[in-house]
Symmetry: C2
Subunit: 234 residues, 2 copies
DNA sequence: GGGATTGGTGTGTAAATGACAATAAGTTCT
DNA sequence: AGAACTTATTGTCATTTACACACCAATCCC
């Protein structure tokens, strides 16, 4: 590639991906943040991200960042928005493509990644000042999650494969943060009427009260219903 | 900026913006395409777009592309998605940020832009093979428009300031392309019940039938309602 | 003045939504 | 075994919303 010709001046920029990794532990919605191991913003908390390799697709880069940090593959990933303010990166012109990732929080252990000193789950409302424009990025991704969780069955990505209806509702409550919590009865009716959940034979265990039924999300059925015009909506 | 150090290898890429400019002329939804004046893909139809200047924000670049082509400023602009497949651009690694623009089609005349031989409105379903991955980009933007037009009052951006309810409905019908057209009475009831339109004193003119009332969209009221929790929804 | 054309309007019915509280089924403790 | 506790589970009614549907009105053109 010619980087000296008339368009050469343009080929002096880079792009990165930043990954807003959401998890849910039964209480709060959480984000996985890293503490930066190098300048700029060394020691500051930030979204996990990295420069995109010259021969790497954007999605692939986002998957790589995730895998380096958590060891996970094949999880829900969605591009959200690109941030490109001229001075957003102190070392040069770097625009960044923000992704959302949804993972089952119990499923993984953080692997120290090259770009991170340490990584830690933060409750979504205990995120302080982040490096770069990462607070803004997080806001955008949270807004997107709030919308998307109501119009696509992605909430399940945050729960273990088998879950109770109460857990599912808690998830929605903590993502949406509506002024009033969702009504338990109406929520159950709505979810069950979609016919997307299958009852498991076994029950919740290890709780000091009446155990709840466990359910699983039926991805196949959802696919069929979508083909028939079904629209997920909560 | 140091482009020779260990991160230097990354600073050899560029980014562009591509602008999906939608318009509506009473019949079809239209997109403004250009015929490329230079390689690669010389003479092919493409989305108007350009490389982003090193000291230019992404939005600014999208606005510039629009202004160079149409002379318009201050119109509706929305970032949609970023396309970054490794080989999407034959001259090097160039990722592109796609934007939607909505303009009032009667409002402008195409100005030959540096990057275009000619520009022409194309009906949305008479778009042939485009340069680069522009067909894919167009698809994404069209999907976004279809969603957004139902959840935000952006349809008005495509109509002249004063319009009839029938025109508004035709707009929705041609954007959404639902299997059945929207019901006239229900559409009117719904739109009017939102209280976002003000009746103009004058009437439609020059039509060979009963003239319709003209309406205007009241942007201020919409702002107030949103603050009170109102959600636009069609 | 008659015909053609599109504008404009109301009502009844079915479906979805939202508010609401009592009972049942387990667990733990004594 | 029973009492106390915790959460699971379920149904009704009132309200709102969605939808289907048909006729008269205003203007133009001849």
């Amino acid at each position: 590639m010619d980087t000296t010709g008339e368009v050469g001046a343009f080929f002096k920029s880079a792009f990165s991906v930043d990954n807003v990794i959401f998890g849910f532990d039964g209480g709060d919605l959480k984000v996985l943040l890293i503490q930066r191991g190098q300048a700029p913003f060394k020691d500051k908390w930030a979204l996990p991200g990295d420069l995109v390799y010259p021969n790497e697709d954007l999605n692939t880069a986002a998957e790589r960042v995730l895998e380096q940090l958590t060891g996970l593959r094949g999880v829900y990933l969605e591009q959200v928005k690109t941030f490109g303010a001229v001075n957003r990166h102190p070392l040069g012109r770097v625009i960044t493509v923000a992704y959302i990732t949804l993972i089952k929080i119990s499923n993984f252990t953080v692997t120290a990644a090259s770009f991170a000193q340490s990584a830690k789950w933060h409750s979504i409302d205990q995120v302080g000042d982040l490096a770069f424009d990462h607070n803004e990025i997080l806001e955008s991704c949270l807004r997107r999650l709030k919308r998307k969780v109501r119009t696509a069955p992605i909430g399940f990505e945050l729960l273990p494969p088998k879950f109770t209806l109460t857990e599912l509702q808690q998830l929605y409550d903590s993502v949406l943060r509506l002024p009033k919590r969702l009504d338990k009865r109406n929520f159950r009716k709505k979810i069950l009427s979609m016919n997307l959940l299958v009852e498991c034979p076994e029950m919740q265990e290890g709780v000091a009260h009446r155990p709840a039924k466990l359910y699983q999300f039926d991805r196949e059925k959802y696919g069929q219903f979508v083909n028939e015009g079904f629209v997920f909506d909560i």
